[in-house]
């Protein structure tokens, strides 16, 4: 059920173009209602009326797309300019951004090269307007739009790199244009993209401001470190979202350390700005968790993934109630939901931890069997889980004019790197299986279980050492550990006393009491309902 938005045009004078019949086509094939919408929209942007803009962006736009523009595109920019009148340069740029987003979403094979190029030019215009003006631009947009701009920017860059590496995605005459673009390096090249993102960061001085906010001991006011640009809401938010956009870019290029460094000052707490936009929160958690996974910080990664899954679960019911708004946008949250489970399975297979009950039960439903295989040392299962869970890596420099599709190369590289690391850690699940059965065990006996002969005994000791190394998270730049002293990180731990392994098992008793209490309460609720029912005695 979609909501019709009422447009208040009573004060503006465009009456010479208004007709009473709203469904008859106007000039240039633009329905009247759409024309009214565009005029109203541009006025709201001018007046910086953020709540109205949010409604227009979030609901009216998809609504109109659904009704009028199912099979054809929104009107061209020149048409729009004629409708809303001259002098609205910024609005035109913003409109074009939405226009190109539509293009990308509609074409399953991806848009034509010329559109990609034009879209990039539009972004350059938008960002140069924002970054090169002497004073902060008087523009206020809702958070979700700002985030979408940055997110789409990174996404289109990703799409372009994949496009470059895949000759199958283009037709013959585009090849020459592509050669041209590559030679001049003027569209979707990694350097301008990085430049724009970093410029947003430095213009808004977001890093300094976040650092100031974090150092609560000194209670430094972020305004003291930021100039007028930094203090402007628009730039602050753009800078903030640009941080997360950069995080994503770094992960796509395989630079996990830099990715984490970029967002080190972004506090993961419910008051952060990222909470206002669901896709932003999901993106942040996913990429941070993934970076930790690649850096072997399984504990941190698990925490991130579980948080994200809980959030999606909580908001899923809310989202289902609202009408499906973004019919043209990629279902980010749905896809990430699936990916998170696979990555979580990998983390828990190597380093089991206690996690929230509801997530744990869903995880065992989806990936239970896979986790069992992984625990038995089946490398292929790791490969499959990783391939499903990882993002679409890209290589910014690969250009293939003809021949084989090379867009999957970076993905293969990261998978290979990951699996090579897993092989070294393969001992863990296998060892765990044996250690669970004993409280003390001589090393020689364990060695014989694992078919290790005397010659390789020392290598076998290496396996024990690896286990402890990973479990104790040696060498990790550990953050402040939670004060959960009675809940150890792993379920099985051990130490070696000369040649005897002493094993410590952590058993968690079943929470029988909690179970009973919950059901007693449920029963009482049911009894209440029954009492209120009218039961006719026979």
């Amino acid at each position: 059920m979609s909501r019709r938005v009422e447009f208040d045009l009573s004060t503006e004078d465009h009456s010479d173009r208004r007709r009473t019949n709203t469904f008859s086509s106007d000039e240039d094939g633009v329905p009247n209602e759409v024309a009214d919408y565009l005029v109203y929209f541009s006025r709201m942007v001018d007046e910086q009326n953020v709540p109205e803009i949010l409604t227009l962006y979030d609901q009216a736009f998809p609504d109109l797309t659904e009704r009028f523009f199912r099979d054809r595109m929104w009107p061209d920019e020149n048409v729009v300019e004629r409708i809303i009148g001259p002098g609205n340069k910024l609005f035109i740029i913003l409109y074009k951004e939405l226009y190109y987003r539509q293009l990308y979403a509609r074409n399953t094979r991806g848009p034509l090269l010329v559109h990609r190029y034009e879209s990039f030019m539009n972004y350059q215009e938008l960002f140069s307007e924002l970054l090169s003006s002497k004073d902060p631009i008087p523009l206020s947009l809702p958070n979700v739009w700002l985030w979408d701009i940055i997110d789409e920017f990174v996404y289109q860059f990703q799409a372009f790199c994949l496009y470059k590496a895949n000759p199958g995605k283009r037709n013959a005459d585009e090849v020459e244009d592509l050669i041209n673009i590559e030679e001049n390096q003027n569209a979707w090249n990694i350097y301008p993209v990085l430049n724009i993102l970093y410029s947003l960061l430095s213009k808004s001085q977001i890093v300094e401001q976040l650092k100031a906010l974090k150092s609560f001991q000194e209670k430094r006011n972020p305004d003291s470190v930021a100039d007028e640009f930094g203090q402007s809401d628009l730039y602050f938010k753009l800078g903030y979202f640009a941080l997360i956009g950069l995080l994503r870019t770094h992960v796509l290029l395989g630079d996990y350390h830099q990715a984490l460094k970029t967002v080190q000052y972004v506090d993961i707490d419910p008051k952060g700005i990222y909470n206002t936009v669901p896709t932003c929160l999901v993106t942040l958690h996913y990429f941070v968790g993934f970076s930790h996974l690649m850096m072997r910080n399984y504990g941190e990664a698990t925490k991130m993934f579980v948080n994200c899954l809980l959030y999606i679960q909580r908001t899923k019911s809310v989202q289902n109630q609202q009408p499906s708004k973004k019919n043209f946008q990629y279902d980010v949250i749905g896809k990430t939901w699936d990916q998170l489970f696979h990555l979580l399975a990998i983390c828990l297979a190597i380093q089991p931890q206690r996690i929230d009950e509801s997530i744990a039960s869903q995880l065992s439903e989806r990936c239970g069997e896979r986790m069992m295989h992984m625990a038995n040392g089946n490398i292929d299962e790791f490969r499959n889980a990783f391939a499903t869970g990882c993002p679409k890596f890209l290589s910014p420099t690969t250009v293939v004019y003809e021949g084989v599709n090379q867009s999957k190369e970076p993905l293969l590289r990261q998978t290979q790197s990951f699996l090579e690391g897993i092989e070294s850690q393969m001992a863990l699940p296998v060892l765990r299986g044996y250690l669970k059965l004993y409280t003390t065990l001589p090393t020689k006996k364990l060695a014989s279980f694992m078919d290790v002969d005397d010659e390789h005994y020392d290598s076998f000791i290496g396996k024990l050492l690896t286990y402890k190394m990973i479990v104790n998270e040696l060498g990790k730049e550990a953050g402040p550990s939670s004060a959960d002293d009675d809940e150890p990180q792993t379920d099985i731990d051990f130490y070696v006393d000369r040649d005897m392994i002493n094993i410590a098992d952590t058993k968690v008793a079943r929470h029988v009491g909690e179970h009973f209490i919950r059901h007693i309460q449920k029963l009482q609720e049911v009894q209440d309902v029954l009492k209120r029912l009218d039961i006719q005695k026979p």
């Binding site: 830099q258 290979q416 952590t506």
Partner: protein, 240 residues
């Protein structure tokens, strides 16, 4: 120029977006060489140069990449080696030398010190297995020789892992894990890690893990407030 000076200059040069300035490649490579010679390390510089090679393929220099990878191995158990591997594109991996370094890395990451020392001392006998990674074991010590302090770094790494794993370790085993180190060397390392010699120096007492690692039973704790509501609102069962 000395490592210190290079490091300071470079840290300024790679601030923010300038990190990706391809002009820095030459200085970064010089710094890596200084790291090799002076047994120093800087994670940022090392990862930056790999990144620049990734974005500017025409500047790629495999010798520097090899040095970088070997330096990351020296800081195990940090995951720098894994990070470095992720930054090298697939089309670079054909070279045998790089392959060899990766295989050596795999050995060290799985704490397989026995194999490592055999390789370094030249006592390694390659199997006839077609997947045998070290067909020409002599190449490994040659590769490691220019890296100052490589063997010491590995010994240090081994000791760290031993500290968390063992409560008591026999001197013979310890010496084997440290590559047949002499008594004097073993004692010196043990002292620097705070291990005590017991039983006439045959056994080293590493750390008291008994206190921290023991079986726990996490029992359920039901607190009174949870059941308080329940107790006050108990109703008689429904009768129809």
């Amino acid at each position: 120029m000395s490592f210190e000076k290079l490091q300071k200059e470079l840290h300024e040069a790679i601030e923010g977006v300038n990190r990706y300035n391809p002009e820095n490649v030459a200085d970064l490579a010089a710094c890596v060489q200084a790291m090799v010679n002076e047994n120093k390390y800087d994670k940022d510089i090392v990862l930056t140069i790999l990144k620049l090679y990734q974005l500017n393929p025409e500047k790629y220099d495999e010798a520097v990449v090899r040095q970088v990878l070997l330096k990351t191995l020296m800081v195990l158990p940090s995951s720098d080696f894994a990070l470095a591997k992720c930054l090298i594109d697939t089309n670079r991996l054909g070279s045998q030398e790089l392959r060899r370094i990766f295989d050596l890395g795999a050995v060290l990451e799985s704490c397989n010190f026995a194999v490592f020392w055999k390789l370094v001392k030249g006592a390694y006998k390659p199997t006839t297995n077609p997947n045998e990674p070290f067909k020409v074991p002599g190449e490994v010590p040659k590769m490691i020789k220019p890296m100052v302090g490589f063997e010491d770094a590995v010994k240090h790494y081994a000791c760290r892992v031993i500290s968390v794993t063992f409560q008591k370790i026999e001197k013979k085993m310890l010496s084997r894990l440290l590559g047949g180190a002499s008594d004097k060397e073993v004692t010196a390392l043990a002292q620097s890690f705070g291990w005590e010699a017991k039983e006439n120096g045959d056994v080293f007492f590493v750390a008291n893990h008994e206190g921290t690692i023991k079986t726990r039973n996490i029992d359920e704790k039901i607190q009174f407030p949870h059941v308080a509501d329940l107790l006050t609102s108990i109703q008689p069962p429904l009768t129809l």
